[in-house]
Subunit: 385 residues, 2 copies
Amino acid sequence: MPDQVLDDISHRRFNPLTGAWLLVSPHRTKRPWQGQQEAPSKNVLPEYDPKCYLCPGNQRAQGDSNPQYDNTFAFVNDYSAVKEQQQEYKPEAAKDDVASLLLQAQPVTGRCYVLTFSPKHDITLADMTAAEILPVIQTWTRIYGSHLAPSHPLKAQAEKALASIPANPDGEVDPPKDQLRYMQIFENKGAAMGCSNPHPHCQVWTTSALPEEPGKELAQMTKYRTENGRHLLQDYAKLEADKGERVVWQNAGFLVVCPWWAVWPFEVLVIAKRHVRALVDLTDEERLQFAEAVQEVTRRYDNLFETNFPYSSGIHQAPLDCTEEEAETSWFHMHFYPPLLRSATVRKFLVGYELLAEPQRDITPEQAAARLRDCGGQLYRKLLK
Amino acid sequence: MPDQVLDDISHRRFNPLTGAWLLVSPHRTKRPWQGQQEAPSKNVLPEYDPKCYLCPGNQRAQGDSNPQYDNTFAFVNDYSAVKEQQQEYKPEAAKDDVASLLLQAQPVTGRCYVLTFSPKHDITLADMTAAEILPVIQTWTRIYGSHLAPSHPLKAQAEKALASIPANPDGEVDPPKDQLRYMQIFENKGAAMGCSNPHPHCQVWTTSALPEEPGKELAQMTKYRTENGRHLLQDYAKLEADKGERVVWQNAGFLVVCPWWAVWPFEVLVIAKRHVRALVDLTDEERLQFAEAVQEVTRRYDNLFETNFPYSSGIHQAPLDCTEEEAETSWFHMHFYPPLLRSATVRKFLVGYELLAEPQRDITPEQAAARLRDCGGQLYRKLLK
Ligand SMILES: O=P(O)(O)O[C@H]1O[C@H](CO)[C@@H](O)[C@H](O)[C@H]1O
Ligand SMILES: O=P(O)(O)O[C@H]1O[C@H](CO)[C@@H](O)[C@H](O)[C@H]1O
């Protein structure tokens, strides 16, 4: 490995998905830590919590009652960041040049869902088997598929997928009347990542605008494809599988790596090995392979510091409403951004320098991948029992 | 105000300094909070802490002893993220096309300083008067000025500034031998922002590379200037001073606003009113005006929730080594990014959607500015005594 020197020197790495650089300072983990400690996650939750707004049968803030659901349950967020209907906003005609340049706004409509992973209050994806995670993937696929624009290039794929997945009324949601542009599926896990309820769940925000991050990725992937005639993530997955040093785990359908450009200490990217444009492209077999990948990542995370590992994660795929070219350029992948650095209680803060100048990380992605490779095996909590 | 409707509807706003959009959801503060609470900051610190590595006279991790300094004290960080000397790294010649595109790295050298604001362990900028903050601004100016490239367009300005500022041996640092490209001055305040020592201090990271954020800003400011023949922040400061609704405070030299595109709940931008390219451009009078602005921001922050308000802040100005055009395009300003949202214990988490899709905020910048305007007056702690 000619790049061994990067283990010792400060350097910048380039993220081709976003077009941005970050600073890597491998020697920096030696400094003592006297700052904030995260509360170690206690695992003393009941299987059912009568006060939880996500548990089966309970009442929610605005009065609705949850059904006695079996695996997933989807509903419109009682405190959505975007709504379907709102007053109209038309920026005044640009009388004032400077204001129209410097005070730009555009209205956004949309709908936000909450989706539980399980009726059990006290478990996480790491506690679930791949077979138990499969209904989550199926629900994501059905929700994504049902929200596609009528003219969407993946419409036929979506119908095929929806036909092959068993119906799950509690996990179904009718799309809103107005067609939306993008669907962001994401999970905030753990108090350190702003999660206010430990009941296993994710969120699905659909908006009339294409948000910044998937927008940047699409632009970068389009550029790469135009310049090189191949897909960025196709080339990247192949390259990483060959090199091996950043690979955490893989199966026939998915590669799990700590990406070359990881910002968060144990950041992980799950990449489809073949050209999957969105959830609806996955075959029955691939949905299970994806469930396995999610299981492997979350279990290894918990095993790493023997704690309920916090993270934010999310899926990037083809927009809900898009051109043929945007759909073709999309390459299904999932990001995991976990904050812990050195132990269950010491996290990496992405603060001053990171906010004002550029992201800075302390251990190399190669070191992170080696540690995640080494902590497969049974979930540590199971062994404690 | 024709834009009143933006107080009620979800919308995106554009940040012309970075070229990115963010999502604003004004109605969202109504949701109940059951998640992590920040520990309220206790103010029970001693004026001198024998275990603090920043207090006068104490010994640091690597054995050096601090002088009995009077106001500021600067030294090279014992755990720097970048160093002056390191092994060489030359990426192999691009035999392998794909790797040279997707695994890009570049070495970074530099030097990191720590700079205390006061010998007293138990105070913050909010507790200090503008006259007491002035030596901090003077030290920043001297450090910045002494690190400029010999051919720098602001060299003459720097010599003038250095001559007019009283020397302060404890706050002096000799520049490294190799010329560096950029100096990022920033402060992380409070445990919530990753600060590991309450002793009032900031950091100064100087690097051989221009980091992402100032790089993006320079590019955007250059574009604006080319297209409009004026400075972006000149136009913006004038526009905000005219409108008034986002102005927090101002004096003859500086405007303090919650910017139109603020991401953090009470984010603040301090903008020089005239064309100040860097610290060394400030006159004696302006340095005091800037100290006043910093005082006003930090005191109002503490008054807002009657707590030691956490934030990350930092200065953007002309690079240390730059062209005539880059220097001319630079416009001195300071960002404050504070995480608290609703009280001393409830913060805004920029997590799942923010990391995966785009930043989302809950209150409008206009609401934030109104609240900060209203909490001037004495520091709440002084009134409690
Ligand atoms: O250098 P410190 O204060 O120990 O560290 C703090 O600030 C740095 C610069 O923003 C961050 O990289 C660290 O994560 C944070 O804990
Ligand atoms: O919607 P929740 O889980 O209440 O809120 C959490 O996730 C949101 C989306 O990432 C963030 O905007 C909030 O700051 C965070 O607390």
